[in-house]
Symmetry: C2
Subunit: 481 residues, 2 copies
């Protein structure tokens, strides 16, 4: 009996214990999942706090429009049509001002024109007697087919896609509701007023309450992409050539660990076309704001973006060389390291200068010194190549270094093209010219000389030759053939 | 008097004449514009005839749904809510089956759940007396803010963006319409039935009438992208090395003019990420069809697509070398021409094989011979480099050729990675294995030998050496360091 009692208590304890453990495990799991979810939400909000603000803006506009229902006098005025104001707010409120204006204006104009056309169709149909549904059905079929096809035109798709959709929608709804014309006019009037109220609420909240301008985002995206490439280039030199710290030039060798984090940043640049184009399309709808005029040259940003992507492609090809370990560094590898690292760092600096002048909306100026330095470094590289006398055995060893050098030359050409494009942009957008940079420009130009001096350690006979090429390079832009 | 008469007739003639000319010019202008427009429409239709079919499908579904209004017994049953069927058709009918299912299912589920929640909110509010509008307003504010924020989650954005939008929309509309619960239930019932009718009409027309499957489009896009790269590679060798026709190997040198047209085709591959991702997202919604099962590995297509884009990046870097004119072809340039062209043509053939086996949904097999040939050609290239003994003067001349060789090696590695990815895809998707290709495989493997023989014209001493490397290469995958 005693044994049985003990047994049952143990069993009960065992069951309770298991239940307790199970509940503990479950609550632990739920807590972990909740923590993960909260962490994700916090990250999403931290990455771009404007997301949180946007959520509250939508909620605010929607609650405001709901007032049309709650405040009775208004309700009596608009009837059930007030529900269209709610619908309008939900579907046209977009993250950017451009997006909201695009949808709002398209919706407004399409509703108005399709409504008018629908009324005309109903008026004609009302005189046709028995043939009325056939005529209206045919009109719906015809307009739906034509409008759907029109949406495939690239230009229409880019700017008026939503408008054409709303056009079919409104026309079908008006034609199909098929009651008497007078009743429809009253209905359409109510609906149009409520849609205008909804649309206006969205636009006002979107523009005046912490606005998110698509144009500004595009502007910053292009500058950011240049900075990402610059980070890669500044980090690459030190990483690839892995010289001893005494040998490497200060700027490129230091903090390569931090830079390693940036080395993969360029990858997102490769796929930035879609977002750039959509931002440029939305920016087209935005009114002038801050330092952006109404007719800001958004198209030029796309051209610059294309050149930046081309440069990113060359960098992608270059980054493949980072993964191959070169255990024995040949003499040749060491000799071209210095000019190659100079090309990297100067291209990177030029890009950073261009990015920062774009951010500040100033005419870029001091970058040209970096481009000159870069050209000088390419001339040095060429000299280093001419100075080296390989036998057939180490030509194979030299290949990766030569390929890297050639890619760096291509990249420096890309950077030059980008700088020209940014110049064109600053002409078109009337950027201010930065005044105080002329002096730093000259100082930079002076820094070309010490670099040429450094190449002496390779082959003393070529020193004069190098200087000659270097002088040429600053005027004619010498590069590897 | 006579003089005056003549004068007035001349004047009249002059005026009439000018009017006539003006009318003629105007009609000519209108005719030209119309011709341009018609030409554009025809081009749009010719490029993808499914666009025309899609337009008629939308029109058909819309006209069918309009019947709900025109046929009186139905009209009496559904009331004004029938207009929701029209609205549903217009907004959910997308070009692909996946798009229509994505929007239709999202809309259906969101309407149902938000409607239920809205009814609950109204039920609670009806017991609150004076506080009713405050409670409902607060609920709308809260849910709108939360739902809008949720839309920023990448996973939600990809799959359920439209559903969340419709959720906010429906909840606000139900909560805002704020009448008695019974009336709302009746209204919601009607609305739900009409939405189901509209949605079902879209889905049926979309699936059973000339369906456009997003998955199939993705499948074809990946194959097409590989073919574009293959076209470039097959054309590049002949274009860049511009050898005399007697010297160049038959396949790569012939019809280079036709190929020139294809040389820019690869550029669209660089920016294909966005369309691939959207197609993969839509394909996820599609039921099994044809040779595609329900759980077809669409994600693997994205991985393959990424590798193809990486290869396209290297090709972009390579294409820069096409524009530089090499007037004097060095001995070295000529010597490496043959293996380089072989790498080009074999990589191109491997890609074409992979593309055609993907199109046929067969397990790729015969491509591996091309990859072996490619590796052999790289070994030849290495041998040609080892055989050459440059002095310092022509090392600079050799640089572009060496850079091209190095890029071609990178490209051949990319092609190998692509082939592995396609293999993984055919494993995951259970592609049939092609049976009759084993024999052609062996024949191709035999074709490695003649190639090594060809390199003899460079340097007879190296013949044995080349063969040794070549034998190694077929087993260990030798490549440039």
């Amino acid at each position: 009996m005693a044994a049985m009692e003990i047994d049952s208590t143990t069993c009960e304890h065992g069951l309770m214990g298991r239940l307790f453990h199970w509940a503990k495990a479950l609550s632990g799991k739920i807590r972990t999942n909740m923590e993960v979810l909260i962490e994700r939400i916090m990250k999403l909000a931290r990455d771009d706090p404007r997301r949180v603000v946007h959520s509250f803006k939508v909620a605010l506009a929607l609650t405001f429009v709901s007032l049309i229902y709650y405040v009775r006098p208004l309700y009596d005025g608009f009837g059930v049509a007030g529900i269209w104001a709610v619908l309008t707010v939900v579907v046209i409120f977009e993250f950017t001002v451009g997006g909201t204006l695009y949808k709002g204006l398209n919706r407004g104009i399409a509703t108005f024109s399709a409504g008018g056309l629908g009324l005309g169709a109903i008026y004609i149909a009302s005189h046709l007697g028995e043939a009325e549904p056939v005529f209206l059905g045919f009109m719906v079929f015809l307009l739906a087919a034509v409008s759907t096809f029109i949406r495939f035109f690239p230009h229409i798709k880019r700017r008026y896609d939503y408008g054409v959709l709303i056009f079919i929608l409104t026309f079908s709804m008006v034609a199909v509701s098929g009651s008497r014309v007078e009743k429809i006019i009253e209905l359409a009037n109510q609906r149009l007023v409520t849609i205008i109220i909804g649309g206006a609420a969205c636009m006002v909240v979107s523009i005046f309450l912490c606005p998110v301008w698509a144009g500004e985002d595009l502007h910053k995206l292009v500058a950011l992409n240049m900075e990402k490439l610059a980070n890669f280039l500044e980090g690459f030199g030190g990483e690839y050539f892995k010289l001893d710290e005494e040998e490497s030039s200060g700027e490129a060798g230091v903090c390569s660990k931090d830079k390693l984090l940036f080395l993969n940043g360029y990858k997102s640049v490769l796929n930035s076309k879609a977002s750039e184009e959509s931002l440029a399309n939305l920016a087209w709808w935005e009114p002038g704001h801050g330092r952006f005029r109404f007719s800001h040259p958004w198209k030029q940003y796309l051209e610059t973006g294309g050149l930046i992507r081309q440069c990113a492609c060359h960098i992608e090809a270059l980054s493949g060389h980072l993964n191959t370990d070169i255990e024995v560094q040949s003499e040749f590898h060491k000799r071209i390291a210095e000019p190659c690292m100079k090309v990297c760092s100067e291209s990177g600096k030029a890009l950073k200068e261009l990015a920062s002048s774009l951010r500040a909306m100033k005419r870029p100026s001091s970058f040209s010194a970096h481009i000159q330095n870069c050209k000088a470094a390419i001339a040095d590289l060429r000299a280093a190549l001419e100075a080296s006398s390989p036998d057939s055995a180490n030509l194979v060893e030299m290949i990766p270094s030569i390929a890297v050098g050639s890619l760096l030359c291509d990249i420096s050409k890309c950077v030059e093209k980008i700088s020209e494009s940014i110049h064109e942009l600053s002409d078109k957008a009337n950027f201010e010219s930065a005044k105080s940079t002329q002096s730093s420009h000259i100082i930079h130009r002076g820094s070309v000389k010490p670099l040429t001096g450094d190449t002496r350690h390779g082959n003393d006979d070529n020193y004069v030759h190098v200087v000659v090429i270097n002088v040429n390079s600053t005027s004619s832009g010498a590069s590897l053939p």
